[in-house]
């Protein structure tokens, strides 16, 4: 190791520390933004040190540098443009796209290291194994993330896409990918084998994510995030770069934790999610509310809801993805701040899987100027429900289905928001249609529940008008 390499190593160590400190500062909203900036500083010095080291040690051809500069410029413009213009409801798609490009960049780096080494000296196993793993994982992440983004965007059907023999096909493709991987590790002079790994991994990514249902989006996005981190770490092993190894490991850890937490929040195993099939066949058969259940439903008008809210002391709002889909975050925030101004205590009870990615609902509410302090996590919210006059459920269903407490149905064991513990419940929903789990929700037929069948946006506007009348009268 030359003195210069030693200095670059120290800079990598510093930038890795800045990544960790930056992530650490994301614990609280007050420090999170600076945390992200600190992480960006770590990024800048890591890249600058790498540029300096590459120029000194290998120099390189001017044409390669020119190609890199053009690529970075185009990619950078695309990335910043999308980041600035993306709607907050569409952030999960964008994160998926970033996973896709990150994973494939890692795969491209490994591929370049592979063809370079074959033309000069043969690859050592300590290099060929990470290269092959990187191409494998990076390619799965690339195609899988693009399909996930397509599903989230609605370009590709959100329900699980399966066909007769699809699992057998998956198994065959996976076996070919694995076989080619082993062969490519043993025979590192054969580029064709690595191409086979690349192609089969791409197909595998598509098949895997196509078979996963839309309700599982938070898990899938987290899982692909973890895989991208792993691919980047493998690229680090392949080119002996510690910055890539550390950053990849950090992201791998983040993605893995989120994957497990999301799976837990739905009480499903990660494996069963990957194998797909939620909300299909066996479960859908029991869908649809029975007639006698519909007879027990108490319908409300917006005026009824307005009175209830205006004279309540403690209100908990349970937002579901239906709220975001109706783009009604601003309306609900307006109603809440009106009530707060008239001394009603209003908080939001947010389930971990309320949005399309972990923490998504919080971002959508923050966009509508809802203060961080008003957003309660699952446990805090469930304590608050016991002392709550009105639980206002908007566009949410499975996350507050009391059936989760009894065994033997699709949501059994899933941690839920105890909206049924509130003194009264108001549900704003378009219809009695069941949620993703495909089972009826007894909360809707509970005697203390009133249903307001309407579009969330219009209903909230009308309720706000109503509340204004009651509080000024």
């Amino acid at each position: 190791m030359t003195d210069f390499e030693f200095v670059v190593g120290l800079i990598y160590l510093l930038s890795a520390s800045l990544f960790v400190v930056g992530l650490h500062m994301m614990r609280a909203p007050a420090t999170a933004r600076n945390g992200n900036r600190i992480s960006a500083v770590g990024m800048i010095i890591a890249v600058a040190a790498t540029v300096a080291l590459s120029l000194v040690t290998s120099g390189g051809e001017w044409i390669a540098w020119a190609v890199l500069a053009v690529g970075v410029l185009l990619g950078g413009i695309f990335g910043v443009y999308r980041a600035r213009t993306v709607k907050m409801t569409d952030v999960p798609q964008l994160v998926s796209v970033f996973n896709a490009v990150g994973g494939s960049a890692a795969a491209a780096i490994a591929f370049a290291a592979f063809i370079l080494a074959t033309s000069s000296n043969p690859l050592d196993l300590t290099v060929s194994i990470p290269i092959v793993l990187d191409v494998l994982i990076g390619s799965i992440t690339f195609s899988g993330s693009l399909i996930a983004a397509g599903k989230l965007q609605g370009v590709i059907p959100g329900n699980p896409v399966t066909f007769p023999g699809s699992r057998a096909l998956n198994a065959v493709v996976a076996l070919i990918a694995l076989g080619a991987s082993v062969a490519a590790i043993i025979l590192p002079e054969n580029t064709l084998l690595l191409v086979v790994v690349l192609v089969t991994a791409l197909i595998l990514g598509v098949l895997m994510v196509l078979a996963i249902g839309g309700a599982d989006a938070p898990v899938v996005v987290s899982l692909l995030n973890a895989l991208t981190g792993l691919a980047v770490a493998m690229a680090g092993f392949a080119i002996d770069n510690q910055a890539l190894i550390i950053a990849g490991a950090l992201v791998g850890a983040a993605g893995t934790i989120l994957t497990l937490q999301m799976a837990k929040a739905m009480n499903r195993s990660v494996l069963s999610i990957i194998l797909g099939g939620f909300g299909t066949g066996e479960i859908a058969a029991s869908a649809g509310p029975a007639d006698e259940e519909l007879a027990n439903v108490r319908s409300l008008t917006t005026d009824d809801v307005a009175i209830q809210l205006a004279y309540a002391q403690h209100v908990l709002i349970v937002p579901g993805y239906g709220l975001a889909a109706a783009q009604a975050q601003h309306e609900v925030a307006e109603l809440a701040s009106l009530l707060i101004a008239h001394h009603v205590d209003v908080k939001y009870a947010i389930h971990p899987v309320a949005g399309r990615m972990p923490g998504h609902m919080n971002v959508l509410l923050a966009e509508a100027n809802v203060p961080y302090e008003q957003m309660l996590q699952l446990d805090e919210a469930n304590t608050a429900f016991d002392n709550c006059d009105v639980a206002l459920v908007i566009g949410a269903n499975d996350v507050c289905n009391p059936n989760a407490r009894t065994p033997g149905n699709a949501v059994s064991g899933m941690p839920i928001l105890n909206a049924d513990h509130a003194k009264s419940v108001v549900v704003i929903k378009r219809s009695m249609r069941p949620g993703y789990a495909g089972i009826p929700n007894p909360l809707f037929t509970d005697p203390k529940t009133g249903m307001l069948f309407a579009d969330a946006k219009e209903a909230l506007n009308d309720i706000t008008v109503g509340v204004k009348e009651y509080v000024s009268a």
Binding site: M26, R37, V91, L94, V95, L116, A235, P358, G359
Partner: protein, 108 residues
């Protein structure tokens, strides 16, 4: 072998640090944390730089271009969107409720 061992040790320890730091982040901030972590894996752009310095064939140039463009989209976009999200969590909250209270007093 020695290089591999050093790198493996770094990898495993970084994984453990990651688990430790990230488990402490509240679920409310999971989206910005994830997109922030997403930006961090944009460090793959450093790998693209190394690839560029070694590329000596048309295939090498193509791979350099792919790695550079994709990594740049990842890193610039990732930091930009995370900053945008976190800015929303930091909005001054005193302004609007204060106005509301005023109007409510007028009304009552």
């Amino acid at each position: 072998m020695q290089i591999l061992f050093g790198n493996l040790a770094i990898f495993v320890l970084a994984l453990l640090v990651g688990v430790e730091v990230i488990s402490k982040i509240p679920s409310t901030l999971h989206t910005p944390m994830m997109s922030g972590a997403n930006a961090i894996h944009g460090v793959v752009i450093a790998g693209a730089v190394v690839t560029a310095s070694l590329a000596n064939s048309p295939t090498g140039y193509i791979l350099t271009f792919i790695a550079g463009a994709f990594a740049a989209a990842n890193v610039f976009g990732g930091y930009a969107v995370t900053d945008r999200i976190l800015k929303m969590f930091m909005r001054p909250k005193a302004v609007e409720p204060a106005d509301e209270t005023k109007t409510s007093k007028d009304a009552s």
